[in-house]
Symmetry: C2
Subunit: 299 residues, 2 copies
């Protein structure tokens, strides 16, 4: 039986999502805790929608795991495994991971490949004299005031299907072509600037680099045309700052209607084609790589 | 020279404001850091407006300290001490204490006795299924939904000058008569319930007990008349929960115009009189205690 679990976590004390020997990771803690709750002899594999990097937080992470159908409680009660996990997983996890939902999804659901988009928010604070120590674990501070209007104007030039190589940490054989659906900086009433970034999928460090590019524009060090030029690069830019991990939070992952889970997962596993953008030769080369589309690199 | 310092801190890793041997406290860290920055041989006394208890946070704490008028920097530059503290104190403090302002106040200023009111906010979250791990260090979770309208109605009965003995941890010879200026629970767009509590001064555990009383009403376990009855008690109530420290934040301390600092401090040091409320005999007895009014017990 496949279960779908909705998760939030404070990334501060984790070495990211992906399990690594000897390090405390969200995947490592979750896999061993699911096994402990279900009294299984060894950790169970879980797959997530957005592989967050060390220090990155999540409010809307989604994962799936394949588990035995039923579970016998200590009182001899036979429970459906999703019910057993709903009752006990939250209590068994440390307090920096919170289980929001446990459910049995429609057939074909894959937390990673069925997703249609991921929404991240990068939080910035541009008044060092009034740093709030209570929010310092999830808001990054910039040394100069930011012009949010200039950032918004520049952000608009990056929307759509492009090769985001300039903003990505390269990975052998992986495409850097993505569809950027939303890139919106907004100053909130508190003074915090929230940069919403939404795309079909992201490559490694992409959200933090996009935000770094916008910060350069907001501080007046660069302009919108410099940022737009980045889309012509076929390699990582050396003048874009990758913003600190702790300002970034995965807020939401969207899925299609139940009947389309399998179809979407199949499509996302297929190679990405890029016939509709301006750089056909390069993109065709990328499209020939064996990287599945919908690939979500660590952020 | 007296300096006034505006401070914020995350109370999570402090054993409260007041210095105690062997414990990490805000006062202890601040006094030794001021001395270190000014290269003084021993810690310097600092006095705060609101003595926060272990785990309580502050965004608007105000303190004063008496320091030498001038300071010679490592480059031989002679600086006014407030300028030296403005430049260096923030950098020298750990990142859970933030200096917001350093200034030289008008004569007669006393961070504690010149204050005219303190404003605290207690933050509650009443949906355990959607706890946000990023805000768990400063929002307290309740197990049942809260009726904010019922809480508001009950809160209104407590406003004004009363003996808040029912809500206070007793202290030998100290009055528990206070003027409650504001007690307002509001559900924010995020779902968080912010209880704003403002008074001339508070006694020990008063804000957390007032919030505990409102939570009992909000959960339907008690009603407004039960809460109003508390004002007739001359001792601590045994059926009011003192809410956890981490939900509480000192947000603001207000002072009169500069010319009135000394006058206000003098008045606050005098014994509190209570001729205007309904319980003259008890309150007269309290007024005869030697506790200065304006006394701010740990919260």
């Amino acid at each position: 039986m496949r279960v779908r679990i909705g998760l939030s976590y404070d990334g501060t004390s984790f070495s990211g999502w992906a399990k690594q020997p000897g390090l405390r990771t969200v995947q490592g803690v979750l896999e061993s805790t699911v096994a402990q709750v279900l009294r299984l002899p060894c950790p169970i594999d879980v797959t997530c929608a957005g592989r967050t990097d060390a220090g990155v937080h999540a409010r809307g992470q989604v994962v799936h795991a394949d588990v035995p159908d039923s579970f016998v409680s200590s009182r001899g009660e036979i429970l459906s495994t999703d019910v057993a996990l709903s009752r006990s997983l939250g209590r068994a996890l440390p307090d920096d991971i919170v289980v929001r939902t446990v459910s049995v999804p429609a057939p074909g659901f894959d937390a990673r490949f069925s997703a249609i988009w991921r929404r991240y928010v990068y939080r910035l604070w541009d008044d060092p004299a009034s740093i709030d120590p209570l929010t310092r674990s999830y808001i990054a501070v910039t040394t100069h005031k930011l012009d949010v209007d200039a950032m918004s104007e520049a952000a608009a030039t990056l929307l759509g299907l492009h090769d985001f190589a300039a903003f990505c940490k390269p990975r052998e054989g992986a495409t850097t072509v993505r569809t950027l659906l939303d890139l919106t900086p907004v100053r909130m009433p508190s003074g915090c600037i929230e940069v919403t970034v939404r795309a079909d999928a992201f490559c490694h460090s992409m959200v933090r680099s996009l935000t770094g590019g916008l910060v350069a524009v907001g501080q007046g060090r660069k302009d919108a045309s410099w940022l737009a030029e980045m889309l012509t690069l076929r390699h990582r830019a050396n003048d874009i700052t990758v913003m600190p991990a702790h300002g970034l939070t995965l807020e939401e992952v969207a899925y299609p209607p139940d009947a389309e889970f399998a179809e979407r997962a199949e499509a996302a596993r297929n190679r990405r084609d890029c016939a509709c953008c301006d750089h056909a030769p390069t993109h065709n080369a990328l499209a020939e790589s064996d990287t599945p589309a919908g690939q979500e690199d660590p952020l």
